[in-house]
């Protein structure tokens, strides 16, 4: 009875409630459901055969491969960085700690295009270390290393940002217990720390992977758009679109949409596990 009255006391008249709900649903419909449906609708407009052709096209396949390779390198790098950074921040007080916390968020604050340009400035032909690198036969810009660098930069906050609050909340008592019980540093990490953070870590990896595969701006600047060589999936979509290959563009885009939806489901499932542990 009391709770029912409380709900009444804080609730609005029925017509207000209906309007608020309608506005929310209309927004989601207009900006999420309709565009996603449009992607799949356009992709399948010319039938399944055309859809398949767009995807098994050699240039498209090479873009898919490059996207997975770039994400496959960037995500593990960011897992290592994320664990190290959150460990340092959650467990130690050191000079520069608050600077590190702020800097981890930098990629989220800086426009990805600017991030890409920074790498061009550093590693390009006229860049700071570019000439030295090209003298030694190392190509960064307009090549895989540049794409990996840009992807890594843009996605590095995701794992660390998941782990820092989690590790701060969990404290270090279990690790202390493990060490007093005779565990080495590595044993403590593998047997105690990793199981404690695994769901948060997985959540961070899903976010990081989704972003790594979908990244456009920074990669666009450093890639050079060489078909079949330095094009990732999002860049390939842009090229097809610019060439009026709408159906093929949407077919490839639908792959990205499927990746996004899959990561959304994974996030829902994992988020529930993070809460319960």
């Amino acid at each position: 009875m009391i709770s029912a009255r409380n709900i009444e006391a804080t609730s609005e008249p029925a017509w207000v409630r209906r309007i608020i709900i309608a506005v929310a649903i209309a927004f989601v419909g207009l900006f999420v459901v309709v565009p996603v449906a449009a992607v799949f609708g356009e992709a399948l407009r010319a039938g399944l055969a055309a859809y398949g052709r767009a995807i098994v096209d050699p240039v498209a396949l090479s873009a898919i491969k490059l996207t997975f390779v770039a994400a496959g390198i960037a995500v593990p790098l960011n897992v290592v960085f994320g664990i190290a950074a959150s460990w340092a921040i959650a467990r130690f007080k050191f000079p520069g700690r608050s600077v590190l916390i702020t800097l981890i968020d930098l990629p989220l604050a800086v426009s990805p295009v600017i991030a890409g340009m920074v790498f061009v400035l550093l590693f390009g032909k006229q860049g700071l270390v570019g000439p030295w690198l090209s003298d030694h036969g190392i190509k960064v810009i307009f090549a895989l290393p540049g794409i990996v660098l840009a992807t890594t930069f843009v996605t590095f906050p995701f794992v660390a940002r998941e782990l820092i609050p989690l590790m701060e909340a969990q404290g270090a008592e279990e690790e202390e217990a493990a060490i007093v019980l005779g565990a080495t540093g590595l044993q403590t990490f593998l047997r105690v720390t990793l199981p404690k953070i695994k769901w948060g870590l997985l959540y961070g990896i899903v976010l990081c992977t989704a972003r790594a595969m979908g990244e456009f701006g920074a990669v666009s600047v450093v890639s050079g758009h060489i078909r079949g060589r330095t094009n990732t999936l999002p860049l390939h979509v842009e090229i097809l679109y610019n060439e009026y290959e709408y159906q093929a563009a949407f077919a490839v885009a639908s792959l990205l949409a499927i990746l996004a939806l899959a990561s959304l489901v994974a996030r829902r499932v994992i988020a529930r596990r993070v809460e319960t542990t």
Binding site: E174, V180, L181, G182, R191
Partner: protein
């Protein structure tokens, strides 16, 4: 050493499986903890200030003090989780500075258990053996032995989150004992439990210690707990040791006003010290060196009454400390008794707590009477009574002359 009542039960080691559960070395020379001049600062805060202490092998020692007194820091230094700024700590003749936490083989039980949340009870207890890569059969035998010791045989597959507080505490203890540590350290072992479980576990810990004779140091802020479980108590305050002794010694012969105040309720009365007398309000009580019941003065700074040198200064202001059970309440006036009014009567376990207003000294006092005496008096709120002090203490180092 004074025999504590709790120690009088079954003190001889029994040659059962349980008897060897915690100390692989029962019968051999027992380990000994020796701490010398230990100092530890956190910034400007002195957590430990030149602390020296030794724990006899097989002993059960309580570090008793308020929060911030340094007792947990001392425990963590012994475990290797903190490093002292100066001073040394030895276990069984080995300097701990040369050993990392994982080499020391001490058992540590954390206040909040710190059980591995993702491992079940069995694997929590097995942890120390698993990281030492012991054979599976040995691990299994040891874990079963410990599960029996903590009476949780049927709960081996439960996760810590599925256990009650008392069960978690016992699992934490079994986990600490698994690798047969040289010493057992417990940080506020019962701090997070409710009163009934605490009382039960205290008795259990004491019996366990009597069985396995593992040298044990535990930290507590609860004097009842320290007195009931330990055979020696170290009272700590602001990073220093105030007093070390058997529970009865510390309680009966507090070294200073801090110990007096910390160990249970005490009436503190402002007084003027004259030659051999203390003047409290409008009454005067005689001061003897041995106290009212004629006991001899204890060694150290403790006095049941002021020393002659203090009295000789004349006109000294100080405080007089009286335990509630040393205050007698009577219906009729006697010489040297305070007139008082009963403010409140509260039943306690074993007697009555009487709060009294004493107009002549302008403050309240508390008297604890046993049931017999309490019911014979039949006190009610507002009754006029007379208080006499059976035993009062004055601490020499607290006295200072009125002129200064």
């Amino acid at each position: 050493m004074t025999i504590h009542p709790a120690m009088s039960t079954a003190h001889t080691p029994r040659p059962t499986a349980k008897a060897t559960a915690g100390s692989g070395a029962s019968g051999e020379a027992a380990p000994l903890i020796e701490v010398r001049g230990l100092t530890k600062r956190f910034g400007t805060f002195h957590a430990l200030d030149d602390v020296s202490l030794s724990v006899p092998g097989g002993g059960l020692l309580a570090l008793l003090g308020p929060s911030g007194s340094g007792k947990t820091t001392l425990l963590r230094i012994l475990a290797g989780l903190e490093h002292p700024d100066s001073g040394s700590a030895m276990i069984d003749g080995t300097d701990l500075a040369a050993q990392s936490a994982r080499q020391r083989n001490v058992g540590l039980v954390f206040q909040h258990y710190a059980l591995f949340r993702h491992l079940d009870v069995y694997e929590n207890i097995a942890f120390a053996l698993r990281v030492r890569k012991r054979p599976a059969a040995e691990v299994d035998a040891r874990v079963r032995e410990l599960l029996a010791l903590i009476q949780l045989e049927s709960l081996g597959r439960r996760l810590p989150a599925q256990l009650s507080g008392g069960q978690r505490q016992r699992v934490a203890l079994a986990r600490a004992l698994a690798a047969r540590p040289r010493v057992l350290l417990l940080d506020e072992p019962f701090g997070a439990l409710d009163a009934q479980v605490r009382a039960e576990l205290r008795g259990w810990l004491r019996r366990l210690h009597d069985e396995i004779h593992l040298t044990t140091v535990f930290v507590t802020h609860d004097q009842d707990e320290a007195f009931e479980v330990a055979d020696r108590v170290v009272v700590m305050n602001r990073g220093k040791i105030e007093q070390i002794g058997a529970p009865a010694d510390v309680f009966e012969h507090p070294a200073n006003d801090f110990v007096m105040r910390f160990l249970g309720h005490v009436n503190v009365l402002d007084a003027e010290l004259l030659d051999g007398y203390a003047k409290i309000g409008d009454i005067t009580i005689a001061l003897g060196r041995g106290g009212a019941d004629g006991e001899p003065p204890a060694p150290g700074p403790y006095r049941t009454a002021v020393t002659a040198s203090v009295i000789a200064q004349g006109d000294v202001r100080s405080r007089v400390y009286v335990r509630p059970h040393d205050v007698d309440v009577a219906r009729t006036a006697t010489t040297g008794a305070f007139a008082a009014q009963v403010v409140r009567v509260t039943p306690l376990s074993g007697g009555l707590k009487i709060e009294l207003a004493v107009p002549s000294i302008g403050s309240r006092m508390r008297a604890d009477l046993d049931w017999e005496r309490g019911s014979a008096l039949g006190l009610r709120n507002g009754d006029d009574v007379f208080l006499s002090l059976r035993r009062a203490r004055v601490f020499a180092q607290e006295a200072h002359t009125a002129a200064s």
